[in-house]
Assembly symmetry: C3
Homo-oligomer: 162 residues x 3
Amino acid sequence: MPHRKKGIIALFSFFPFGWHPVHVKSLTENLWFEIPNRRGFVNITGTIEGLVKKSGVEEGICLVNAMHITASVFINDAENGLLRDYEVWLEKLAPHEPTSQYHHNRTGEDNADAHLKRQIMGREVVVAITKGKLDFGPWEQIFYGEFDGRRRKRVLVKIIGE
Amino acid sequence: MPHRKKGIIALFSFFPFGWHPVHVKSLTENLWFEIPNRRGFVNITGTIEGLVKKSGVEEGICLVNAMHITASVFINDAENGLLRDYEVWLEKLAPHEPTSQYHHNRTGEDNADAHLKRQIMGREVVVAITKGKLDFGPWEQIFYGEFDGRRRKRVLVKIIGE
Amino acid sequence: MPHRKKGIIALFSFFPFGWHPVHVKSLTENLWFEIPNRRGFVNITGTIEGLVKKSGVEEGICLVNAMHITASVFINDAENGLLRDYEVWLEKLAPHEPTSQYHHNRTGEDNADAHLKRQIMGREVVVAITKGKLDFGPWEQIFYGEFDGRRRKRVLVKIIGE
């Protein structure tokens, strides 16, 4: 079929004149956590790196967000002293006790402070993906921050790019 | 025209060998607010859900950001007691009075505290869109937070995906 | 070569029936800073605007993030009094002295407060690009915030769209 063959050649020869076909890829994953205490931090960098590799995205972005409103995803240093400093500091800025100081706790909850702490630490991070990897500075690490644990909670990972 | 028909066949048969055409869609909308008091919170989740549907994006992200620097867009719980707790807490962390304590207010403004409060609550949220919907946890709701109201202000919604 | 010509015509005539080819463009750049003091703010809006233009992206998003965990990228007002207010306010919320109050500083560092300040001000901003420009409100300006300077640090700019 000579005509068909010609059609393919025409397609190729057209590409350089202003456009080229692309793959837009996306990957959606849920990570589950059940922190045994009320508060805690978990380094999830390795897990996210694995998902970026799995996605096959070379150039794009990676959104990682807590799906619960008393938890955070944030980027900072994997140093245990600092994580302890965050714990002490957040307790000073938004103390758990007395629980009666918060209107929210009149609903029967005791976690109003957790909703406040999460606003300081943030809900989400957006990380660039360059050449198939998280485009990170030397000390950047992604953490899940729990402020009202002892139950199962999710983090969403959404990767988009090509 | 048999040759033309052959060309189309060639195009189809080429697709599976490594690429396929895509739609990259985007939608840009402005939401307007005029909060009658200095401070207030508005749940805009339903509005954003409607815009995601309108965009036709199945897999992508939705950026929602305050376009004014004394306002926030944030995600937390649609519980009135908690919103009141945020109000009290932000006033403690960045009090409005005395207005003379802030250098910014020497410009004739009285809203320096609003610029500070907005940094705690954040400028923007980025939400994943999966299968045509906001990919949300069970209690996630999007709020507009006003810290210096009584005038018209805008929020930008940008949806990108395919 | 009449056959080849027919093939090109077929390609064009197919486009309107449900899809069209797209450019997905991305641009990745590093900005370098060396702030002479421990703390400081730099307005980087003009630089980011130049990179958006360079990228050729008409509809998309621009991620700007600190690559160091004692620095921030944030959007607020280019008013010197306000920047001074941020400095005073952050020092009140997360004081540098006494450095011995922080567990992190037992590692030999003295910058634990900088890690805390950066959480208040944020790591990153995501800005919409509409019609080839940053889609900004009237007063929005992008700042680099340094909380532990006197050494070279990077900011990442990632622009994605079409």
